[in-house]
């Protein structure tokens, strides 16, 4: 069995009429495209960190998508990637200072993963596949969509890991005081397992929907052929 070995797996053709919803669900960067794995696994041991990382990545996506789309016609092809990386690295530096200015505990919790947003496949992929070709407003919406989709995925993962691994959600205890937390889930193996379960959940849901759609189409074809 050979898996499609690329930075992302082939996906359904995007719905170009609403880039925001596209990024949020249909082409969700984590659950559908399987990109940006590193922060997804590392930062999600609490919901607070997950949301903070999601928002930081959204900022970087919106900033870089908008700027790259604005200058897309001015950049010659050969220096394309270098310019994109420079713009992305700049927005990451900016978000680094912003997070530090907003909350030092969150900054410490996110640790080296804020600068590592630069290496997040999602941002460069969106820059090349979308922002380089589409107008500014659409690129900005795409940035928001992908960013919020990413934040949503991180929150899903963070919820499972924090509720099971620490018995709290955003710091609020969910179970009573006698709950014995399943500590594994806030440790590295738990991250892998939680993500595997979410991926399985979403892919089985998608395949169930696909089967239902096919069954409907088949029954319609049968009716048409009966009429004819």
């Amino acid at each position: 069995m050979s898996e499609p070995i690329s930075c992302h797996t082939p996906t359904a053709p995007p719905t170009t009429d609403n880039p925001f919803l596209n990024g949020l669900w249909k082409q969700n960067p984590v659950f559908v495209q399987v990109l940006g794995m590193c922060p997804t696994l590392a930062i999600t041991n609490s919901v607070r960190n997950a949301i903070a990382m999601g928002l930081a990545t959204t900022f970087v996506l919106v900033f870089s998508n908008t700027l790259i789309s604005a200058v897309r016609k001015l950049i010659p092809n050969q220096v394309r990637i270098a310019s994109y990386i420079a713009i992305i690295a700049t927005s990451v530096t900016i978000v680094d200072y912003l997070v530090k200015a907003i909350s030092i505990p969150v900054y410490k919790a996110l640790g080296p993963f804020i600068p590592l947003i630069v290496a997040n496949c999602i941002i460069l992929e969106r820059a090349e596949a979308y922002a380089a070709k589409k107008p500014v407003v659409k690129s900005m919406l795409d940035g928001f969509g992908m960013g919020f989709g990413f934040a949503f995925a991180l929150t899903c993962l963070g919820t499972v890991r924090e509720v099971l691994g620490a018995g709290t959600w955003l710091g609020f205890p969910v179970f009573g005081p006698h709950f014995e937390p399943w500590v594994l889930f806030v440790l590295p193996p738990g991250g892998f397992i939680a993500l595997a379960i979410w991926l399985l959940t979403f892919s089985s849901w998608r395949s169930w929907r696909m089967k239902r759609k096919l069954a409907e189409e088949n029954s319609q074809l049968v009716r048409v052929s009966e009429v004819a």
Binding site: E3, I5, M37, C38, A42, T93, L116, I193, I197, S203
Partner: protein, 194 residues
Amino acid sequence: MNESLSHIFLDAFLINNFVLCVFLGMCSFIGLSGKFSTAWRMGLSVMFVITASGILSYYMNQLLIAVHAEYLRIITYIVIIAATVQLTEMFIKKTSPALFRELGVYLPLITTNCAVLYVPLMLTARNYNLVQSTVFSISGSGGYCAAICLLSLVRERIDLSDVTSLAKGTALTLVLAAILSMAFMGFAGMGGGA
């Protein structure tokens, strides 16, 4: 930090393994661990890139500190990494075109490998000197190479087993990685008490 070299080595290789404990280099870890032959070639390329860019970043960092331009760190490191990957590509193309063809598109993808950017960030944060930086780079990237090779060996075996088609692919790889990660947790505390 006055850490001994052996401690740095063990820490980066086993205790805080880049892939299984710090979650770096995930995209290539999941995507490229299907076959052992791809995995060890990728591992070695990453080792080379990380070591080279780690040493270069150390010197660049000294320069940035000297001109009080620490805010340029992220951009500088990324530029160094992109340049190193480019050079590695050209080098491999010249010396072994077969290897170049086999690695294909993954070679330039090393630029977005979190593990490569993590190393200079850590060297800066922990204030390592040149020797410590080199040991850290080599052992950390060695840990990545070891992890991806281990996973590819396991996956090659699993390919022969009966797994439901829904679970095949990324989900199964993640579960295997979870088990490997649990195994590596056993190394924690190996450093003892400094």
